[in-house]
Symmetry: C2
Subunit: 283 residues, 2 copies
């Protein structure tokens, strides 16, 4: 029987799954520790189940997803030192002797929303997650986008009024790039409490919506997506999405229309489902 | 005999051509006035030559390049009132009775650099022109990018330090978007003389390089191109390209590499050649 597995590899946890879609999914999750320990747990999960046709991995990064590259399948310049230059796809392939598909966590989530969720029927859309980081995956003309390596949509530079917001940004590489200003750790560092504890009506949300609207403008002007899916922990704040929409429309000012901006439909399972969808594409 | 024509429709001039590539090109150019008068001149050019298999148009915009849309072939929200909502492709198709391909001027130039110039052998790259406006065309996975309509890469928002640069920007829609800060009219308005008269070493170029480097960062983080081709009148200033490269590298700070940034190879003929290449793709 044809059966696929998926690994959603996040910086804090791994989700492993076997199945064919949202209605048929056998899952396990565990903390991301060292590559040795974490891969061992993933391998044990799959070994305890029926043999698989292929496994897909949607990984935190930056990674090398180019099958023609020497470092294909590796995590590259991550700040997580133990994982830097780790041959992730190779480790899974060797341990389980199956073909392995390898892409970013956000491309996996994008593919999953395309197959089963908020991007069904589209061919050009963006999936952005705003959580411990800001990352974007995208499909263009019906194919996941990679380009030279893969997009790093959270690291664009946006207007930052230092008088209004003296917080210098906390991206270790760029200071006040979008991620450094608007990911959850930036909210916590700026306001002195975790994002999920900041109450409705707190000025944090007005500023957050402005920064994310600048991101929407950059991605819209550069890619012209049919739709943008905005997920991640920070976006679970209900009032944020309509605020972003209003501010993005004001910024674009009728020159071009704001694309539809919607919430993801697959929630916490988007990543592992997308990894399974990646596996289904393996030739 | 199979023979293709192309129209490069710019805001100030039209270039019409018939041929098969850079070495076989019969050209004419004239000023862009009203649609009636300008289309009449284009039609007269093609009528004076052998019948064509198809004609491609690379047009200023915004335009509707989606063949499945009702307004396909039209120029849409341009500030040039006489051309707004003009059915450009329809006018050419009706007058000359040939299939017409219709895309942006920058996508045409991108396609032309892909066929004959600085993007040969790539599948994912960006072509940006910095002149009277800032526009970008791109190819992703071997296909020209359109998405919902088409990119408008010059209209991203970038950091703008009002103390250092009090010029408020002159984009009629967005004020200080990248185009409003860094296209040729912005240089002239800020410094009181046309860009081409500003001498080497003038502080204009340092600032210009910083703004364009922010554009490079946004397009690189969003699209991950293999190469960026930077053309247009402003880029004819020789020292600008290396300054942009250095500043883009400093901004990306090793997190991801700066893609190759090169000059176009087809110069003033890129647009009309790209329009011909569009015609060659017509089914």
């Amino acid at each position: 029987m044809v059966r696929y597995g998926g690994i959603e590899a996040g910086g804090t946890k791994f989700v492993c799954g076997v199945g064919s879609g949202p209605g048929d999914l056998d899952l396990a999750e565990f903390a991301t520790t060292t590559p040795q320990e974490t891969i061992k747990q993933a391998v044990a999960f799959f070994n305890a189940r029926e043999p698989l046709t292929a496994i897909g991995i949607g990984s935190f990064g930056p990674i090398d997803p180019n099958p023609h590259s020497e470092s294909f399948g590796c995590i590259t310049s991550t700040p997580k030192a133990a994982w830097r230059n780790f041959d992730f796809a190779g480790a899974i392939r060797n341990a389980l002797d199956v073909p392995v598909a390898f892409d970013t966590d956000v491309n996996a989530a994008a593919l999953s929303e395309f197959r089963w969720g908020a991007a069904r029927g589209l061919d050009t859309f963006v999936y952005v997650t705003v959580g411990t980081g800001i990352g974007g995956g995208a499909m263009m003309n019906g194919r996941l986008m990679h380009g030279r390596t893969h997009p790093e949509m959270g690291h664009i530079r946006i207007p930052h009024d230092h008088q209004r917001d003296p917080f210098p940004g906390n991206c270790p590489y760029h200071g006040d790039c979008l991620e450094g200003l608007a990911a959850a750790p930036a909210l916590e560092a700026r306001w002195g409490q975790p994002a999920h504890l900041l109450p409705a009506g707190h000025p944090a949300w007005e500023l957050e919506a402005e920064y994310l609207a600048c991101g929407i403008v950059a991605w819209t002007c550069t890619l012209s997506p049919q739709r943008i899916i905005l997920g991640g922990g920070v976006m679970s704040r209900e009032e944020l999405l309509p605020m972003i929409l209003g501010k993005a429309a004001a910024l674009l000012n009728g020159y071009i229309e704001v694309p539809e901006i919607v919430r993801p439909q697959l929630g916490a399972r988007a990543g592992v489902l997308g990894a399974i969808a990646l596996a289904q594409q393996v030739q």
